[in-house]
Symmetry: C2
Subunit: 204 residues, 2 copies
């Protein structure tokens, strides 16, 4: 079973061996197909074919499609790490840094389709929403990634995430003119002070 | 053609006459079916059957399903008017009033399914997003409903709408624990001061 993890995408050299090679091949294929086809469009079967493995192997490693998607976002995109990185550094620039990082993730042609698929799947599928809550939420908010965050700080972070999510949906998905026509700098000037206030607990 | 506008839902008395009767029957049926089945689930044919009209009549009056949906939200729900009403009154309470009204629309069993269908359709369908931008956006932001709003005020309103949309998606659709577990009063205390600052232009 472990020998079937032959990776035919992006790493043309040789056959992989072992579980981690198979797992890597599946995640690489999943990243490409989710980005191209979206969450609903990319079937487990197509991902298995692209990875050169049996579909049963995907179920063996990841369970369902939602968990595969969450694992792909966590392991094959820089999204969680870039957001966590933005939270460290000069506290006076926290709001600008987080807002800038978040907008860049939506502007980046590598990450935008993943984020769009993430929002679309989470707003239309209860299972995908559960995946986002449980798998990604647990990873991002785990003590390992955000050490020492208490409940109050996690709540403020979640409100910031909600605010920025709403901005992204308006600007990049619904394309509400008053938001999408706003130059990036003007948008930063509008939103970053609010994110700063929320994150530092000085929002009232 | 105008005689076919027989309404068999919610108004059991008699046959309607004239275009407005047919239009009303279609909108009543659309409101019920969109709320029950969502934007994708409610077909033009099913709405026509529920309204007792030929599907061609729906195309005649409303064009496509997106426009029918937008017209239904605008004409058969109190959503636009309640939001506009929240913008008038004591300026010192603006943020609390708008936030409270918005949360109530998402808590109200009459309006929640309509808002969920609105968000789901606008995040998954480019045509539905265009509908939301053009039909609802034009209605809400028209000079008739929001008289005398200049570009700056419309931009601030759009940012508030984006912020509140993100909160609603996190609380009522994705059900992110840090947001959905927050008592309503605590959520108001977190968000209303920000909405107040945005709407009054004192956000920086």
């Amino acid at each position: 079973m472990t020998e079937s993890g032959q990776n035919t995408r992006k790493r043309p050299t040789g056959r992989r061996t072992g579980d981690s090679g198979t797992r890597d091949a599946i995640l690489d294929a999943a990243r490409d197909l989710f980005a191209d086809l979206g969450f609903d469009g990319a079937s487990i079967r197509a991902i298995a074919a692209a990875a050169g493995v049996d579909p049963a192997l995907i179920r063996h490693f990841f369970g369902d499609k939602e968990t595969l998607f969450a694992s792909t976002v966590a392991d094959r995109t820089a999204i969680p790490q870039r957001l966590v990185d933005a939270l460290t550094g000069d506290p006076a620039q926290l709001g600008r840094r987080v807002t800038d990082t978040y907008l860049k993730l939506w502007e980046d042609p590598e990450t935008q389709p993943v984020l769009q698929a993430l929002v679309r799947s989470a707003t239309t599928s209860d299972r995908a929403a559960a995946m986002l809550r449980e798998v990604l939420g647990a990873r991002l908010l785990s003590q390992e990634i955000l050490p020492g965050f208490d409940e109050d700080r996690i709540r403020r972070l979640a409100i910031c995430a909600s605010h920025l999510l709403g901005i992204a949906v308006a600007r990049y998905i619904i394309k509400l003119p008053a938001i999408s026509a706003l130059p990036r700098d003007a948008l930063m000037d509008e939103v970053a002070p609010t994110i700063q206030r929320y994150l530092t607990g000085q929002h009232q």
